[in-house]
């Protein structure tokens, strides 16, 4: 399996499917495992940038007036900008992770199964939302000398609406994943059924975010106990719970595939 090109004959190429199959299988699963670990980059850069450098944990409140939020941006300065660049960079790694789950789901459903696609698209769009909010907040933080407080506030609001009100992308991803897990009728399911229900809880809790635009204070504002802490707490919890089970599932599937390949 070296990198140096071996000189292959046309006859050898013809037998690629049967003779090199175990090699290909191992290669596939290696790629899957690396992609699954994409969640570490997402969480690392995401939290490091959003919470660490930008200080958004909890974020500046919804009830702040323009001067208040402009003040926060000015005080935080370059750290905020760097944090948002990190968040924008880390965002896409979420879809790497989601792609792996999608492949696992496709081993549960049949050829006409749609849940693997639903989960993948949900993962892709969640990643996109992360990036959108990051670049909007980054824009707000640039050129502090010429941005009016009202502009900063408008951009800050826009970032939060992108971050929160688009929750359905993530909820649909978790519903797709959850339903697939429940459909797994193996004696020992690839992913335990209770994980599906944790996903359903997370998906349902996200629905509270519909209240975010209407309350500037209290638990449902974007900085609130429910809209921020409960929603994102559960989001990171589900990533932390699903990942080890997905890893084990990949090991099992690889063993199955290698056995089948003979």
């Amino acid at each position: 399996m070296g990198i140096a090109p071996e000189i292959r004959t046309p006859q050898q190429d013809a037998t690629l499917d049967t003779t090199d199959k175990p090699t290909r299988i191992r290669g596939d699963y290696l790629t899957l495992r690396w992609s699954l670990m994409g969640c570490l980059v997402y969480v690392g850069f995401g939290l490091g940038g959003f919470a660490g450098l930008a200080g958004f944990m909890p974020p500046p409140a919804e009830h702040l007036n323009a001067a208040g939020i402009a003040g926060y941006f000015h005080d935080r300065g370059i750290s905020l900008s760097i944090g948002m660049v990190m968040l924008a960079f880390g965002g896409p790694f979420y879809y790497l992770w989601s792609a792996v789950l999608s492949r696992i789901i496709s081993r549960i459903e049949g050829p006409m199964g749609v849940l693997s696609t639903v989960e993948l698209l949900g993962g892709l769009l969640t990643a996109w939302i992360t990036v959108m909010s990051a670049i909007i907040w980054l824009t707000a933080s640039m050129r502090p000398e010429s941005r009016s407080p009202e502009t900063i506030q408008t951009l800050y609001d826009l970032g939060w609406i992108f971050f929160d009100v688009t929750f359905a992308f993530t909820s649909l991803q978790l519903l797709g994943l959850g339903f697939a897990i429940l459909r797994d009728k193996r004696q020992a399911p690839l992913i335990p059924h209770w994980v599906a229900w944790l996903g359903f809880l997370t998906a349902a809790t996200n629905v509270a975010l519909v209240l975010m635009p209407f309350f500037e204070t209290g638990p449902f504002a974007w900085q609130g106990l429910i809209s921020f802490w409960a929603v994102f707490g559960l989001f990171f919890l589900i990533i932390g719970v699903v990942t080890p089970y997905a890893w084990k599932a990949l090991r099992r599937l690889e063993a199955e595939d290698l056995t089948a390949a003979g």
Binding site: L198, F215, T217, G218, I226
Partner: protein, 197 residues
Amino acid sequence: MAALTTDQAAEPETRWKIPGIEGVWVLMAGDMVIFALLFGSFMSARMKDPGTFEVARHTLDFDRGGINTLLLLTSSWCVAMSLHAMRAERREVAVRWLGFGILGGFGFAVSKVLEYSAEISAGHTAGSGDFFMYYFMMTGIHLVHVLVGTLVLSVFWVRWRSGREVRGLTGFESAAVFWHMVDLLWIVLFPLLYLVR
């Protein structure tokens, strides 16, 4: 949860079992924690401004609230009786108990909507200050749970009445357990909003 099933596999002699679908307990535990957060949030807000909260509280209809509690408790009882009847393989009896349980759920929902109309007519909305924000949001989210629970129970009621063979009660046990959770949340929510003075 994985540890619990290993315990059960290792000790099949114990009569202990987790009612219903295992994962639904995860859903419910999370749900109850979120409500606990809301209860705490309400109390924190209340203690910062007890006078305003007291005035607002007095506009609520305590009698209706109390009757709603009795109604939901009775509905929970009916569902519990329904499960016991089904286990004893008395299907027609079970269907009747379940029917009354579902009616209780509907009754609660209707009563709640009427209560909301009364409050709104009196000029109180979710934007009328912190107390009413908590009142509408907490009872509103609870009402969504009531509606979901009633819907799920209704599915079972229709299925049981259709005369088709019922294979296993695990699903219904979970539906019943969810319904009892809805009841239990109201048992705390009602005094929290209406009676804490």
